[in-house]
């Protein structure tokens, strides 16, 4: 650790390349906090949006027209409005309406970012799931129904597992998009990677260096997601189905 710090300090002195996050402990902790927040935000949104997306896709197939319309409306609304406007809407329009607890807002900017991005990604996930669900052969559903499965069991035990396999590639894209979209939380001062980096570069005046660091950071996160999804896809692959 000390060697690395020393090397980057030397790099700055000899070449002017200023990567304070490697030798300034304050900058380093800010950067790591940003990194952790981005991961946390991504993870929350990922899990919640998959659950909500699957649920929405299920509602889209409801027997009740009003439920179907509501689910479709939700998907269309979030797909067809700018994500930044959505985020501002939640934070600035809905945020002040929430009651305060002991003078503190009930939900901080991170909380609102989780909600806003979850809804956005859930709308995309719902579309992907819906395509996956449509790809499940009708005969498979009939087989499950004729074995006495309830509607919910047919969905949970047959349709969803099969749809999931069909949707893996599209879902990977969606997750990558999610990680990229977390940078929007910058706009409402969520201390995520971009926000913290901006604080560092405005004090240290090392914009180009921090930009490179940022890009590499996101490449790393997205790379890991791709790896994990590839592994998962291989794990879930069953002989004679899909691909």
């Amino acid at each position: 650790m000390d060697d690395i710090a020393a090397w980057f300090r030397w790099l700055h002195q000899t070449s002017g390349i200023k990567l304070t996050i490697f030798y300034d402990s304050y900058d380093r902790s800010r950067f790591l906090e940003g990194f952790a927040t981005t991961l946390k935000l991504s993870a929350y949104c990922l899990i919640l949006s998959l659950l909500l997306g699957a649920f929405t896709a299920w509602l889209c197939g409801s027997k009740i027209a009003a439920v179907r319309r509501a689910a479709n409306g939700f998907v269309q609304l979030f797909r067809n409005t700018p994500p930044l406007v959505q985020l501002y809407f939640f934070y600035f329009a809905l945020g002040p309406l929430l009651p305060k607890v002991g003078g503190m807002p009930l939900l901080g900017s991170l909380g609102w970012a989780v909600i806003s991005l979850t809804l956005l990604e859930a709308a995309f996930a719902a579309e992907i799931f819906r395509a996956g669900i449509e790809a499940v052969p009708r005969a498979m559903i009939e087989a499950a129904e004729s074995l006495g499965y309830s509607r919910a069991q047919v969905f949970r035990l047959v349709v969803l597992p099969l749809a999931l396999r069909v949707t893996m590639p599209a879902m990977t894209n969606n997750l990558v998009n999610l990680v990229k979209t977390t940078t929007l939380a910058y706009a409402i001062a969520v201390p995520e990677l971009l926000y913290m980096s901006a604080q560092i570069w405005s004090e240290q005046v090392n914009v180009p260096e921090m930009m490179v660091v940022l890009l590499i950071s996101y490449v790393a996160i997205v790379g890991i997601i791709n790896q994990v999804m590839q592994w998962l896809e291989a794990r879930l692959r069953v002989p004679g189905f899909g691909q």
């Binding site: 087989a143 129904e145 004729s146 074995l147 006495g148 499965y149 509607r151 069991q153 099969l162 004679g240």
Partner: protein
């Protein structure tokens, strides 16, 4: 299942009365009546498109009838509305499809175990022991952990039969279960079904296997264009068909 005393009155376990069903403007079933006694096997034959699959699907409630009555044991299928009633019916009636329709993401054993665990709420140990037994019965011991994609058509179909049997149904429906198979594997499946019928499993079989129908059926129904043209024992229907349409059909397929 068929251990009623000799003197017990024979009450049909499946009774279909004047069933009509249309898809859009096309009337596919135009007044079908049929009865199957407990422990009997009934074969339904007829040209494709005559409504045989639709008829079977009306019996286990996959398709609602427009008019007429369908009784299976104590279930009045034509009146069932609530999901729970439908599920109760399907615990009593199992169906095997032409295209097997096994769940591709589950192994042979899991395919058999799922419904008894999830629907009948039986214990896993009990279900697993029975699933092994059933696989043995359809002569697929050793294939427990194979996925459907790793099995031949005939093997998949026998897993599908075992899956249906695992529900301990009172009635089995078979919808052209050998139509998608090549001649050799066809035989494996027919042997399995014959054994079931001999054990007294009440069965309704839609089939193109005339020799098989002749051999195992108590009754044969010939359908065409949504009506039953002629019915009788295999000897009557195959030996001396009364209707011209039946004769023409049999000439064509035999």
């Amino acid at each position: 299942m068929s251990d009623a005393g000799l003197d017990a009155p024979i009450v049909p376990i499946v009774r279909i009365v004047d069933v009509h069903k249309s898809f859009g403007a096309v009337e596919v079933l135009r007044g079908i009546s049929l009865a199957v006694n407990r422990g009997e096997a009934v074969c339904v034959i007829g040209p494709s498109g005559s409504g045989k699959s639709t008829l079977l699907r009306c019996i286990n409630g996959l398709i609602p009838v427009d008019r007429g009555e369908v009784f299976v044991g104590a279930h009045a299928v034509h009146k069932l509305r609530a999901d729970q009633e439908m599920i109760a019916l399907r615990k009593d009636v199992s169906i095997v499809f032409q295209q097997y329709n096994l769940f591709p993401h589950k192994t042979a054993l899991e395919n058999i175990m799922m419904a008894p665990i999830q629907v009948l709420k039986q214990s896993k140990e009990e279900v697993e022991a029975r699933a092994h037994e059933l696989l043995k019965k359809v002569r697929l011991a050793g294939k427990e952990n194979s996925y459907p994609g790793e099995l031949s058509g005939g093997q998949q179909q026998r897993v599908a039969i075992a899956r249906a049997l695992a529900m301990r149904p009172s009635v089995m429906l078979f919808d052209e279960v050998t139509a998608a198979l090549d001649p050799e594997t066809r035989k494996e499946v027919l042997v399995t079904i014959r054994q079931l019928v001999e054990e007294g499993m009440t069965s309704i079989l839609v089939t193109h296997e005339m020799a098989f129908a002749r051999e195992i059926a108590h009754n044969v129904y010939f359908t065409d264009h949504g009506v039953i043209v002629e019915e009788g024992t295999p000897a009557q229907l195959f030996g001396s068909p009364q209707k011209e349409r039946t004769r023409a059909f049999l000439e064509q397929v035999l």
